[in-house]
């Protein structure tokens, strides 16, 4: 009994399910009520669960996250929507100094079961601040967990798992995928655990690591490489903090080569950490340095050239070639 859904639909269904399962789950954010969010991820929820559980917030991100902290301390499980990646920064202080540290500060007495949903990444032709990839900053912050979904089915399950987690989870949603591809959801299936990575295409010559929006690019790159006789293994990281290194290390030990691909700036992006860890753990297996493909170390450009800025099929393939030719 499966349904064909988009990522937006999967997230919407996941939220709905979580709200049905636990009356303590609240949804908060700008325009999440009647409008259903600018991406319609919360569509219909206020109508069905009421204004007390689906809360339109004043236009202030620090206020949204800060009040969510209070609600969490009171026993609620707030799911906060940040309207766009570039607008999470006014809430940055609350996230890194309060959300991330409350459990630690209280020696585990106060839990912080909060999900901060962030539509992230580019490719939608938007104006400035609407296409950012802030994940590395959150992953660098102990006390937060950070995950990124890449497809409708994961969206459905991972969001529920994040909400069920007693730790704060920054939940990254690749906005260009919201309404892009459909997939079959079997609601009776048992999902994999939240903080695990997944081999989404097996291969033997090189390991390609991606998450969120770049998983699709990585899959296409692997297909293209296959036509040239190169067998690329693709891993959808899914979890960015903690990292699930086992499948990554297993893979690289087999392939000897790794390329990491993300939209965030390369400098100090997730690729840096993955490169460092892979090199530490697989030093003698590596036939080439871990290569990184990502957004350039410039601010996000005007949208007419965003596809030049973002890692695309060609740039990933170029890195694959450079690694294989190393």
């Amino acid at each position: 009994m499966s349904t064909r859904i988009t990522l937006a639909k999967g997230l919407n269904m996941g939220l709905r399910k979580a709200m049905e399962d636990d009356p303590k789950v609240l949804v908060m954010g700008e325009d999440v009520g009647k409008l259903g969010g600018v991406f319609r991820i919360t569509d219909g929820l206020q109508k069905d669960f009421g204004e007390d559980r689906v809360i339109d917030s004043p236009l202030a991100e620090s206020g949204i996250v800060g009040t969510a902290v209070g609600l969490a301390l009171r026993g609620y499980r707030p799911v906060v929507e940040i309207q766009f990646d570039g607008f999470v920064y006014p809430a940055y202080d609350q996230i890194v100094c309060q959300v991330a540290k409350m459990h630690f500060r209280s020696k585990g007495r106060s839990k912080m079961p909060m999900v901060i949903r962030i539509p992230f990444g580019g490719g939608i032709g938007a104006v400035e601040h609407h296409s950012e990839s802030p994940e590395a900053q959150f992953a660098h912050t102990p006390g937060l967990k950070v995950v990124a979904c890449s497809n409708p089915v994961d969206g459905y399950w991972m969001l529920q798992q994040a909400i069920a987690s007693d730790d704060p989870v920054v939940f990254l949603e690749p906005k260009r995928q919201y309404h892009a591809d459909k997939a079959d959801l079997d609601e009776s299936a048992t999902p994999e655990p939240l903080f695990t990575s997944r081999v989404v295409r097996p291969g033997t010559d090189l390991t390609l690591l991606a998450y969120g929006p770049t998983v699709k690019t990585a899959m296409r790159a692997a297909e293209a490489a296959a036509t040239e006789g190169r067998s690329v293994e693709v891993i959808d990281l899914r979890t960015l903090s903690p990292l699930d290194m086992d499948p990554v290390l297993d893979s690289v030990r087999r392939t000897g080569r790794a390329v990491v691909c993300h939209e965030a700036h390369v400098n100090l992006g997730m690729g840096a950490e993955l490169s460092a860890r892979i090199t530490e753990q697989c030093f003698y297996s590596l036939e080439a340095p871990v290569l990184r493909v990502g957004g350039f170390d410039t601010p996000y450009p005007a949208s007419r050239i965003e596809e030049d800025f973002l890692p695309d099929l060609d740039r990933v393939l170029d890195a694959v070639d450079r690694s294989l030719d190393f």
């Binding site: 325009d31 236009l59 202030a60 006014p90 350039f296 410039t298 949208s303 007419r304 050239i305 393939l317």
Partner: protein, 400 residues
């Protein structure tokens, strides 16, 4: 009555005169929908000239026709840009429909030496500053993040992060104080800053911090809030349960609510507030009470959250119609005038349509040059690497 007395400020010396615990139903009562008795108005929705004890001004015929022309052309820019978005030439457009009077009234109150910090919707103010409307399209077309020199026009780049510019405005005003261009009494020299923001923005920490800094340093800045009743889908009541202009009172500077659909009143109040700032009397909060007649942006669907009846009732307060009625009724503009203006608007529209498509495309390699004033070796290297990569396609052809 001196200039500064025009603005209601807090009564600092006692609780006297302050009311007691507000009855919210009352607060949200009729005053919220018609602007309430505190609304400063000089021209009614019917186009009748009314007078105000503190903010009255004499306007010349030329000035009145000028306001009218500004508003008509501003609306034309807006209509054309909206159409260009529908035709796929712009990625998105933030309409100002209905807010023409607020923007022209504020924009025309400025002097050359003043400085504006806009949001993303200040097309009318940009017009008053002499910025070619074509330049406004770049951001929305996605060819740049803004393409005018803020210093040249005294008009900052559009700011998208809600409220951030109010602090920049306050800092800039502090700079004017240090430059000795405030309160010298020299009209050519004394300057002020105007910070634009929306009703929704009034909830941001930054905006409230701007109030604090401006009050603390008595900075020459006018906080000009276009209360268009909506922050995307959220009504003003979510942000404030009392009239917004009263926010200022709690920070120790005056606030006033003006009919933002009345270009005369908006002009009068804004110029008084700017003069107050230039004279060294510090910040003022101006709430321009108006309505967002269109969608939040071209990607928004307001039918999901507001009643068309509300929109209809605001149509009766159209800022252009009321000045047109006044001009006609008083014989201040004849048919030829209106015809000529129509032609001018049509020409402007054509220029925008053609010019938009001709806006130069950005080049990714250029973006590397704009990150720093002093380029870094590592970024130059990244650029060179990418240039070489791009060249390799020209020789070898693409993978894809």
């Amino acid at each position: 009555m001196s200039q500064s007395d025009q603005f209601p400020g807090p009564d600092p010396t006692s609780g006297e005169g302050a009311g007691f615990g507000p009855d919210l139903a009352e607060v949200f009562g009729p005053s919220q929908s018609d602007g309430g008795p505190e609304l400063v108005q000089l021209l009614t929705p019917e186009g009748e000239r009314v007078h105000h004890p503190e903010f009255d001004l004499d306007f010349s015929e030329e000035q009145l026709r000028g306001f009218y022309r500004d508003m008509v052309l501003t609306r034309r820019i807006d209509v054309e840009a909206t159409a260009l978005q529908r035709h796929g030439e712009l990625g998105i457009w933030a309409q100002l429909l209905g807010q023409e009077a607020a923007q022209i009234g504020a924009g025309r109150a400025l002097r050359r030496q003043d400085h504006v910090f806009p949001t993303y919707r200040e097309h009318g103010v940009a017009w008053c500053r002499g910025i070619d409307p074509l330049r406004l399209l770049g951001l929305f077309r996605g060819v740049d993040h803004g393409d005018w020199d803020p210093a040249e026009y005294g008009f900052g780049l559009y700011t998208i992060v809600i409220g951030a510019q109010t602090l920049h405005a306050t800092g800039y005003a502090m700079g004017m104080q240090r430059d000795g261009v405030v309160g010298t009494g020299d009209a050519e020299r004394d300057a002020a800053v105007i910070a634009h923001f929306g009703d929704g923005a009034s909830s941001q920490g930054d905006v409230n911090e701007a109030f604090i800094f401006a009050a603390s340093y008595n900075a020459p800045v006018v906080f000009f809030c276009q209360n268009n009743q909506w922050a995307i889908s959220e009504p003003i009541e979510r942000q404030s349960r009392i009239p917004l202009y009263q926010r200022a009172l709690g920070f120790g500077f005056p606030g006033v609510r003006v009919d933002g659909n009345d270009v005369l009143a908006t002009y009068a109040v804004t110029q008084a507030a700017l003069q107050r700032a230039r004279d060294g009397q510090g910040p003022t909060f101006v709430e321009a009470y108006t309505y967002r007649m269109g969608a939040h942006t071209t990607t928004d669907d307001p039918t999901r959250y507001r009643l068309s009846a509300d929109v209809e009732s605001w149509k009766l307060k159209d800022p252009i119609a009321r000045l047109e009625a006044y001009l006609k009724r008083n014989g201040l503009a004849d048919a030829a005038y209106f015809e000529e203006l129509d032609d001018e608007a049509a020409r402007l529209g054509a220029t925008l349509r053609e010019g938009c498509k001709a806006l130069p495309e950005p080049r990714i390699l250029d973006t590397f040059e704009h990150v720093y004033a002093e380029q870094t070796a590592e970024l130059a290297e990244q650029r060179a690497g990418y240039a070489a990569y791009l060249e390799s396609f020209e020789t070898e052809g693409s993978h894809a």
